[in-house]
Structure formats: C-alpha cells, structure tokens
C-alpha cells in the first residue's frame, strides 16, 4: 500500500490556480522531491500535505485514509508528520535541547525517555555539545541541524522539507545535501522535499516530481529524468540542452541540417509528416577535424564553429550546420580546441536523442 497519495489535487486562490490536478503516490520510506521554478505550486502542494491548507479539489490519503479533502482536512497537529521550514523556524525562546524535545513533550513521552532520545538525536546531527545553547548563539548550519533533529526525533509518518537549504551558503549546502540523504537512509523515512535546485533534487531523491505552473510535468528517478525527459519544460529545466525541430518523413526524421533514421531513436510514436521536437544534450555531440568512421547509432554532420567560450572544465561551442537548422551547443573537453570558423564534423549520439512534447 502506498504511504501517501495525492489524488486529483487542485488548489485555487481566487481566479489563480496554484496547483492543477496533481497525482502522486509515495511508497513507504521513499524520498520524492518536488522540483520546479518559484511559483510553480510546489510549496502550496507541500502545505496541503501538511494540512495548513485544504485542497479545493481532490483528496490526500495517508495510510489509506483520507486526511484532506475540500470538505474537511485533518488539522496539521493530528497528522503525525513533521516539517523543516525554509526559515528553520527554530523557537528562539527555547534551548537546542528544548527545541528538539518539544515534539516528544507534546506526545507525552516521559522525561527520561525524552532526554535519552534527544541526546541520541543530537549526537546523530553532531550537536551534542550545544544542547543548552540558545538558537541566537548558533550558526546557520547548526540551526539547520537543530531543525533536522527536531523533526526526525519524533519519528514522523512523513517528513516534509520546504527548501531547507536555500538559506545556507554554497559549500554548506552541498554538504547538507548528503547529510539529508544520509539521515534518510539511516531512518528510512517517507519524505517530501521541495526545492528549486535541480542538483539538490538529484543528490537527495529517489524520485523527482517536476512541476511547472501548477502542473505535474513528470515523475521519475533522477537518471531517467535527465536522460528521458518527457516534456520540453523538463528537458530544459534539468540540465542544459538543445531543442531541434524536425518532421517525420517515411522512416526518418528530417531535422533540416541532418536526417536521422527513425529506428535509431529510442522514442516511439509520431505519424508521417508529424512535427517533432527533439532534445539533444550538449555533451552527446562530439566534434572532430577528420570525419570519424561510421559507427552504430552515430550520426555525423558537417558543421562550422560559430562561437566559443572556455569555461575551464569544458569548452562551450556553438556549431552551425549548412542547412537552415538552428546552431547547436556542444560541450567538449578542455583538450578539444577548435577555432571560430573552423570546419568540423559533429557526431551525434542518436541513442541519447529524446523526443519531447
């Protein structure tokens, strides 16, 4: 049985639809992140799961019981969940230990047990020595750990995270990504993780749900999400890519500058004469001076370098084709140096071309 199910959930504010017909099921112990640009409805979705807000349509189910519906919603305090907030929401009038122990106190866990579990939890997040400090005496990263400890110690049915790392500086943020994943693996909690940072989502999640303008675009594991984006939005939002328009003609697709046989593509569908849109990642194109030997699933096209930029870890080339197709961006290793205007051969890995809608 799924742990948490969102079924046809919609939420409108006046005339504005923040979340539209959202469907998602989380398995027990799964970490799913809601990823999307700001204003896409991910925080609204999270607050509906938490019970701070009711859906205007659809239901939310926990362990097979309806907890949210337009008619009535179980208040947040009765959901046995916990949440980590963007501002951390550490209570400034309580010490670290009091903050972490609060959820246990509300659950009427006895004093000794509370103390034992709080101390244990503080060790896990490496805050054992700071238990009697007040939040104003802690750094941002330490406050973040208090928030983590506070929400995990109660063994929640579901742990919700609302952009938990966005207030940290870059280095700390990278460290905390792994920390959150480690805690998830250690406690096997069901988690919903809201973020706008795709790297954060890739590092932490079992599956990623990409949202755009209130719609759920795609739900997949990070690897599939990157390699097989289903929509133009997902392909463009997760990593960089080239979009190429093409037309299906017979057994091949004509992209203007080059033609790729249909069977070489991994994607199916499309009638003859149909317009298609393909996503080609910059690192799936190889440039060379000599024409490479023909190889399976490789398509080779003559092109010329139009523009280039050296980024240290790689070269960023714009190459143009003879035919009217748009120029493509190509990522090449630091050693692959080509001059602007130089004739090159661009070898495209057709197995990595994805048709998107």
């Amino acid at each position: 049985m799924s742990k948490l199910v969102l079924r046809n959930v919609s939420r409108t504010f006046g005339t504005h639809t923040a979340v539209h017909d959202f469907n998602l099921a989380l398995e027990e112990g799964e970490l799913v992140s809601l990823l999307g640009p700001s204003g896409c409805g991910k925080t609204t979705t999270l607050r509906m799961i938490a019970g701070f807000m009711s859906p205007t349509q659809g239901t939310i189910e926990l362990d097979g019981k309806v907890i949210s519906s337009p008619e009535s919603s179980l208040p947040p305090e009765k959901r046995q969940m916990s949440m980590i907030f963007q501002s951390y929401a550490i209570w400034p009038n309580m010490t670290v230990a009091e903050n972490v122990g609060f959820g246990l106190k509300v659950r009427n866990v006895d004093g000794n047990e509370t103390r034992r579990r709080v101390d244990e939890m503080l060790e896990v997040v490496q805050l054992g020595t700071l238990r009697d400090r007040y939040p104003s005496e802690l750094s941002g990263g330490q406050q973040q750990r208090v928030a983590l400890a506070r929400s995990i110690v109660v063994k929640p049915s579901v742990l919700l995270l609302d952009e938990p790392l966005s207030n940290l500086d870059a280095n700390l943020r990278e460290e905390m990504r792994f920390e959150i994943r480690r805690l998830h693996d250690e406690f096997r909690m069901t988690m919903v993780y809201v973020t706008h940072d795709q790297a954060e989502a890739m590092v932490t999640s079992d599956r990623i749900a990409v949202m755009n303008q209130g719609h759920l675009e795609q739900v997949d594991a990070p690897y599939e999400m990157y390699h097989r984006p289903k929509t133009k939005f997902v392909a463009g939002f997760i990593g960089r890519t080239n979009f190429v328009k093409g037309t299906r003609q017979g057994d091949a697709i004509d992209f203007g500058g080059f033609v790729i046989p249909w069977e070489l593509l991994n994607s199916g569908g499309g009638r003859a004469g149909a317009q298609v849109l393909a996503s080609i990642r910059p690192q799936n194109i190889r440039l060379s001076r000599e024409q490479p030997a023909a190889a399976h699933r490789r398509c080779c096209v003559e092109a010329s370098v139009q523009r280039r930029a050296y980024l240290g870890e790689s070269w960023d080339y714009h190459v143009a084709f003879a035919a009217p197709a748009e120029p493509l961006r190509v990522a090449a290793g630091p050693a692959d140096v080509f001059e602007v205007g130089e004739k090159v051969f661009a070898q495209i890995d057709t197995s990595q071309i994805t048709l998107v809608s």
Partner: protein, 585 residues
C-alpha cells in the same frame, strides 16, 4: 500527466453521519475561541454605537420612534451656542497649539539651540499631566482674585484687582492648548527629522538665507504633518470634558461636552443627549478621514524616510531668543502649573503662600491612607484600569492574531480590523453615552457596576492596544507556529509556548500604554460611575466645587507620580520611542 503507480481510491464515505463525524474530528477546535473574541468585539463596539444611534430616534419613556430628541436638542439658542462655543474652542486652541508646537519642533529638530534636553523633558511632562490637573493648576494661577498671577500684578502695580480671569473662553483656550500642543510638537518634529540638510543646502546655494530657506523650503515640506496635527488637536479639544467643565461652568458658558453632561443631570435625557452628540461624532469621523488623506499623500518625496546627511542650522546669537521662546511655552504649560500644584498639595492652605510653616504632608497622607473615600477611589482607579488594560490587550491580541493569520478570511479580517480601530474616532463622551444607552437595561444591566466602567475603558483604549499588538504579531514569522503544529501542538500550544514568550515585552508595553490613560480617564467615567464605583478622576472633578484645591492637587500629584513610575518601567521594557507609539495610531 499522471503517476502510473497511483493506487485505487479508498471506499467512498458510507453515509452522512460518518461524514459529519469526520468533519468534527477534522475541525480545528480553536475556532470557538475566535468566535468569542469576535462576539466580544461586537458587544463592546457595535452594540453601543448602534444603541446610541437608535436611542437618538427613540422616546426615552415609550421607546417609540420619534424625531423629538433632535427637535429638543437643536431648538434652544443655549444649546446651539454651546455647539458654536465648541467650534470656537477647537479652532482657537488648535491655532494656539501650532503657535506653541511648531517653533519648538523646529528648534529642537533643526537648530543648534542649547538645552534641548530640558525642553524635551518639559514636553514629556505636559504629556504626563492629565489635562484637568493642568486646568486646576491654571485656576490656582489665574483665578479671578486669589490667582498667583493676579496677586503678583496687584503687588507690583498696586491696582485693586488683577487682570486675569481663567474662567473665560480665552482662559479655556489657553489651558486646552497648553496640554494639547505636545501632539503638534511630536508630529511636526518627526516630519522635520526626515528632511535632509541637502534640500536646505540647495536653497542656500541659490542665494536664500536661513530664514528664507526655513519659510520657503522647510515649512512647506512639513505642511501636511502640521495640518494633520492641527486636525488632531482640534478634535482633541472639542472632545475634552475635564478642562471645560472646570473652567467653562464657573465662567457661565457651555461647550458641547458640558452640555451633554447637563443632559445627564437627573433625570437623564439619553435620547436628547444621543441626538446632541451626533454632530460631535460626525465632525470627528469626517476630520479623521481628512487627516488620514492629508498625511498619507505621496507628493512629498522627502517624507518617505531616506534622507541624506542632516546638520543643525547655526543660529548664532539668535539661539538665545529661540530658547527664550521655548522656555516661555514650557513655563506656561509645565513649570508654572506644576509649581503651584505641588505647592497646593503640600500646603495647609494654598493661599498662604510658599513658606515652611505652611508645609505639610497631611494632604497626601490623608488621601492615600486616612480618607475612606479617596482610598477606595484610588483602589478603584487602579483595579479598573488594570482590568480594562488586561481585557484590551487580550482582545486586541486575539483580533490582531485572527486578522494577521487570516483565520476568518481576508474580508472579514478587514472588517474586524476596522471595528477594532473605530473607538479611535469616537470621542470618549460619545462612547460613554452609547454604553449608557446599551447597558442600563436588561438583558445586560451593567450600569452601577464596576464592569460598565471597565468595559468602557477597555473599548476606549482598544485601538492603542491593537496598534501595538498588530506590530508585535507581524514581527513573528508564522513558520514558528507552523512548526509547533506539525509536531503535534494545537494553535494554543503554539500561542502559549512561542507567541506569548516572544511578545512578553511588547505586550507589557501595550498594557502600560493602555493603563496610563485609563487611570486618568474622566470623560467616560463621569457618565458611567455610581456612588460605589468612584475613581480618582471623578472624585477630583467632584471636589472642584468645594474649592478644596489642596486635596485636588494632592490627588492629581498621586496620579502623576504613579504615571511617571509606569513610564519609567515602559522605557526599560521597550526603549526610548515607547511613548510615541500611542500617537502613531
């Protein structure tokens, strides 16, 4: 886009009863408390004002609809004269306030005048002295024969009688202005504080001298603030009861507030009083609206906050002339009245003058310990004010919470917010008549009990509590409460463990800000007190007939000393801008 792994839906609700049960389990039980808060608000504000309006159209005896009250209220020349007198009093006193307040604000804010601290302290002092105590001071100073100033003139010139008579319209205007000009000072000064010196430099560089710059550049920039202050003081003056009652009645003329009081002489003519109070209420509402419009206009860019560098204007030799003027104003409003009040409070007989053999602590000792009447009045004053402040703060905090957390929807929230601020534009005396009309008869016959005074105080000063609570609640990130709730605490757990501890200081401050005016409130008390619920302000007013000024002064002094103590506590809790908060409403 659909997640393929979505399981089938759970069974639909079996029947209506199960559905109801689920709704009950899902209901946020705290909702009842918010309903109670809203109900109390309706009881305190909407009901009295509604009853006021209704009883103005009702016969007192039969309750039948009538326009007779309006006919009675506006058919006698004497009544119309009182209306006219109030307008004269309001405009003259407000003009005099500008003459007092604007130069002082300019001198303290923009110039290098010496002894600014002294001026500050005496203006704070005039804020602290209740206006009717100031009136008592001026009676001692300029009473027709025995007044100190008259005796001084007689002694100096040898004439048979002194020239001053406080029991006159000019006398009343002076007394009212002396205790209202601090509003003008504070509002003008805060506007002046926002003007950068660069604007004045720009005029200087184009050839204008200090005086021309001040008149042509600086004054026009603060004009909206000055106009707003003028309106505020005008409204303050026409709503005042204590000073007019102490000065106009012996002077044999009436203003609206004293006339209203006369309608309440036994047997009270509530309907006529309500009808007669309408112009006061309407003028107040219209002028407050006007004041808001004037001061919120955006045309004056320099008033938006970020000024450049500020330097004091060098006055040179003129600074002594400016200081002399400031000291004159402070002497009239603070030093002279305070000296004669202290003298009277510690004198066996105030007319015997300043000598050691006239000195006694008997008066103070008597009213605090010996005299049963004053002892009970003192007790009443502080218990009523304390209870009222508690009610006002709790209610204001609840409403501010409901509005800010949008517990009842945005639109209802706006209405609640508006209602809570409404007593701000209702003169105290009008509110008192509304309370009298609403709560003298069953089902809620509160008249004669302490509760009618307590509730009237709480209502009257609710806006002060609300402004402060609102600011306090806004300073709390709602996520702090969300965190409590998601961990299993209710809304009340959140309020008890997080909101209350974090707001402790500012709520204590709000309590004091309500408590101070509540201890000295006269205009509502005079209509609602009974023999068993006398408070100090009423007692002070009652005793003024007897001419026992030693006792009046002592009562006043006790009030002032306690107020000063409270303000010092407020400073410690909330910092230096604490007193300004109540005018920021």
């Amino acid at each position: 886009m659909t997640d393929r792994s979505l399981p089938s839906a759970p069974l639909p609700m079996a029947n209506g009863r199960a559905m109801l049960g689920q709704r009950w389990r899902h209901l946020d039980k705290s909702v009842w408390v918010w309903f109670v808060a809203i109900a109390v608000l309706l009881l305190l504000i909407v009901n009295p004002l509604l009853r006021l309006l209704i009883s103005s159209f009702q016969s007192d005896d039969t309750g039948a609809f009538t326009l007779g009250n309006y006919v009675a209220a506006y058919s006698r020349l004497r009544y119309l004269e009182a209306l006219g007198n109030s307008l004269v009093l309001g405009s003259c006193a407000a003009s005099l306030c500008l003459v007092f307040g604007v130069p002082l604000a300019w001198a303290v804010s923009r110039t290098d005048m010496p002894f600014k601290g002294l001026i500050w302290i005496s203006i704070l002092g005039t804020f602290i002295i209740p206006p009717y105590l100031g009136a008592v001071g001026w009676i001692l100073l300029a009473g027709p024969n025995a007044g100190w100033l008259n005796r001084l003139v007689v002694a100096l010139t040898g004439s048979s009688s002194g020239p001053f008579n406080i029991y006159s319209m000019p006398g009343l205007v002076l007394v009212v202005a002396c205790y209202s000009f601090p509003y003008v000072f504070v509002l003008t000064k805060s506007a002046l504080d926002l003007i950068s010196s660069e604007m004045e430099d720009a005029a200087n560089i184009l050839g204008a001298g200090t005086w021309r710059t001040t008149v042509l550049i600086t004054l026009p920039l603060v004009l909206p603030a000055i106009l707003g202050a003028f309106i505020l003081v005008f409204l303050e003056a026409i709503a005042l009861f204590g000073s007019p009652a102490l000065i106009a009645l012996p002077g044999r003329f009436h203003v609206v507030t004293t006339m209203l009081w006369q309608f309440f002489e036994f047997p009270p003519k509530v309907g006529v009083a309500a009808a007669y109070a309408m112009p006061l209420l309407i003028i107040t509402i219209v002028l407050f609206w006007l004041q808001r419009r004037i001061t919120s206009r955006k045309g004056y860019v320099s008033l938006t906050g970020k000024g450049g560098e500020r330097r004091s204007i060098q006055l040179g030799r003129w600074k002594w002339a400016v200081l002399a003027y400031c000291l004159l104003v402070c002497t009239l409003s603070f030093f002279m009245p305070l000296v004669v009040i202290c003298q009277a409070a510690f004198a066996k007989a105030w007319g015997r003058g300043f000598s050691l053999d006239n000195l006694t602590f008997d008066n103070i000792y008597a009213i605090v310990f010996r005299n049963e009447l004053t002892r009970r009045a003192t007790l009443h004053t502080f218990t009523y004010a304390g209870t009222a402040s508690l009610i006002a703060v709790v209610l204001a905090l609840s409403i501010a919470y409901i509005v800010n957390r949008e517990l009842v929807g945005k639109r209802v929230g706006h209405v609640l917010s508006f209602l809570t601020m409404a007593p701000f534009v209702v003169p105290g005396i009008v509110l008192a008549i509304g309370f009298y009309a609403a709560y003298t008869r069953p089902p809620l016959a509160l008249y004669g009990t302490a509760w009618i005074l307590i509730l009237a105080y709480a209502t009257r000063f609710l806006p002060i509590a609300y402004v402060n609570s609102n600011a306090a609640i806004r300073s709390i990130n709602p996520e702090l409460e969300d965190a409590i709730r998601i961990l299993g605490g209710t809304r009340f757990t959140a309020i008890w463990h997080v909101v209350a501890p974090l707001l402790k200081r500012s709520l204590a401050g709000a309590f004091i800000l309500v408590f101070i005016p509540a201890t000295r409130e006269l205009s509502t008390a005079i209509f609602l007190y009974s023999i068993n619920t006398q408070v100090l302000s009423v007692l002070l007013f009652d005793k003024s007939d007897e001419g026992n000024f030693e006792m009046l002064a002592s009562i006043g002094l006790v009030l002032v000393v306690i107020t000063v103590a409270l303000i010092l506590i407020g400073f410690r809790l909330m910092g230096r801008d604490f007193m300004l908060r109540r005018t920021a409403a």
